[in-house]
């Protein structure tokens, strides 16, 4: 039971965690919803930095992209549609929850005493299953990024389930908010002339770069930090930025909501299709070693990826690439159609339509 190294890493970890605690207490205490949303934005920034300290590069990537891009905008969209009044709170209501929370917290902290020391390399979690994956992944799959290899290949079926959950969320939000009269996207009349030249020019420069970066993240997912989930969210952020700058009308012309929903479905179909091809070729469902029949495998030039004499697992490489593409399509189109749902809905028109 080695005690943790008390080095710069641990000091950073303690500092960032204390910041997180301060922000969380501020979120509890604040009475205005908007302040809570802004604090949650800051919270996700600090969590991303903390994840980098914890050597979790892929998770930091995801938290960064999701926290900075999607969750603030979705919460803002919800506040817009519910006219975020300030929360009215009387303290008598808070006494019972406070006691309950303290009791549950005390029990949990008492139980946490039995957990292995922080950063202990010999802890059960780190010494058995974790090590086996670290040792065998490069041999089986040949992808340097163990996290993507496990996510896409060893645990491919689970990730298919998660992609389907994201597709279900897309259908759910689209059904609830996606239909009905859309907000009129006439350009807003500015009292003091046009202030947004700076924004338009910078966004016009950055949107293609964001999309290009999303593709970079997607295709080097198994070499460095990256993968389908992160790439999908980055792609969605590019579309959302376009919608915020050039108006929802323009963006819905370019990315029609119907097409977005079908692309979300197509991502899951692509993912399952790769599994079925492996099944047809005699392997198990989603077993990428059987993705290519021997004749096809012979046609792939050995030097395609890296030095030719190393044993290559072409099926694994391309299998991971295809299903990450499926995940990219589903995640990107889901986030975009969620944004369409929240940004496009208008309560006045619906009230008028319902006559209530």
């Amino acid at each position: 039971m080695t005690t943790p190294f008390l080095d710069a890493n641990f000091a950073l970890n303690v500092a960032l965690l204390l910041m997180l605690l301060a922000i969380a207490l501020a979120v509890v205490r604040t009475r205005s919803l908007l302040a809570a949303i802004l604090l949650m934005g800051v919270y996700s920034f600090v969590v991303a930095a903390w994840l980098m300290v914890m050597d979790a590069a892929d998770v930091a990537f995801t938290e960064a992209v999701v926290g900075a891009g999607i969750s603030t905008i979705v919460l803002l969209g919800a506040i817009l549609l519910t006219h975020g009044e300030v929360v009215r709170v009387n303290w008598r209501l808070q006494v019972v929850p406070a006691i309950l929370v303290l009791v549950v917290g005390g029990v949990l902290i008492y139980a946490a005493g039995g957990l292995p020391n922080f950063g202990d390399p010999a802890s059960p979690a780190n010494s058995h299953v974790g090590r086996i994956y670290l040792e065998t992944t490069y041999g089986d799959i040949g992808a340097p990024n163990v996290v993507t290899a496990v996510l896409a290949s060893y645990r491919g079926f689970d990730t298919l389930g998660e992609t389907t959950v994201i597709f279900a969320a897309c259908v759910g939000v689209a059904l609830m908010l996606g239909f009905g009269p859309r907000v009129d996207t006439a350009p807003t009349v500015d009292v003091m002339g046009d202030h947004h030249v700076v924004l338009r020019v910078i966004s016009k420069m950055l949107i293609p770069l964001i999309v290009l970066f999303a593709l970079y993240v997607q295709f080097h997912g198994d070499l460095g930090a990256g993968g389908g989930f992160q790439a999908g969210v980055i792609m969605a952020v590019a579309v959302i930025l376009h919608a915020m700058i050039f108006g929802l009308g323009e963006t819905t012309k370019a990315f029609r909501p119907g097409v977005m929903r079908s692309i979300s479905a197509f991502g899951v179909v692509l993912y399952t299709g790769v599994g079925i091809v492996c099944l047809v070729n005699g392997g198990g469902f989603l077993d990428y070693d059987f993705l290519f029949t021997p004749q096809v495998e012979a046609m792939i030039p050995p030097g395609l990826l890296g030095d030719p004499d190393k044993p290559h697992h072409w099926g694994q490489h391309f299998g991971i690439l295809f299903i990450e593409l499926g995940v990219l399509l589903t995640v990107a189109s889901t986030m975009v159609s969620i944004f369409y749902g929240f940004a496009g809905r208008t309560i006045e028109a619906i009230k008028a339509e319902r006559g209530s």
Partner: protein
């Protein structure tokens, strides 16, 4: 030669950190939003330039230096844009800067005098 670069890089990173701390202190102490925006965005871009330059010295030339350049270019593009958007939003929704409100200088530091210029959003 190598550790000279190392020291120069480390020095630049340290100066960048001090720059950021100055900015943070500025954001805490300035009276109203516009001076705070000014303090924050200036020291952000300044600190970022110093630190990224310092890191460029630390890293061996290659893909890492290229990525550092891209990070610097995007920070230079986005931070001023965000501050511009923020300032124009604040101004257009009625948040007036506090100009010439010198009561707090003459000693009667009453909260009423301090917030005379700043209308609640």
């Amino acid at each position: 030669m190598a550790d000279a670069l190392h020291w120069v890089g480390g020095g630049l990173v340290a100066i960048g950190a001090i720059w950021s701390i100055m900015g943070a202190v500025g954001v805490l102490r300035f009276p109203d939003v516009y001076t705070r925006i000014h303090a924050a965005s200036l020291t952000d871009t300044g600190g970022a330039t110093l630190m990224l330059l310092g890191m460029a010295f630390l890293a061996e030339p290659g893909i890492v230096t290229l990525k550092l350049f891209f990070v610097w270019a995007f920070v230079m593009l986005t931070t001023p844009t965000a501050s511009n958007a923020l300032a124009s939003a604040a101004y257009s929704s009625g948040h007036r800067p506090r100009i010439g409100n010198f009561e707090f200088m003459r000693g009667n530091d009453s909260p009423e005098a301090a917030t005379k210029g700043e209308s609640r959003p």
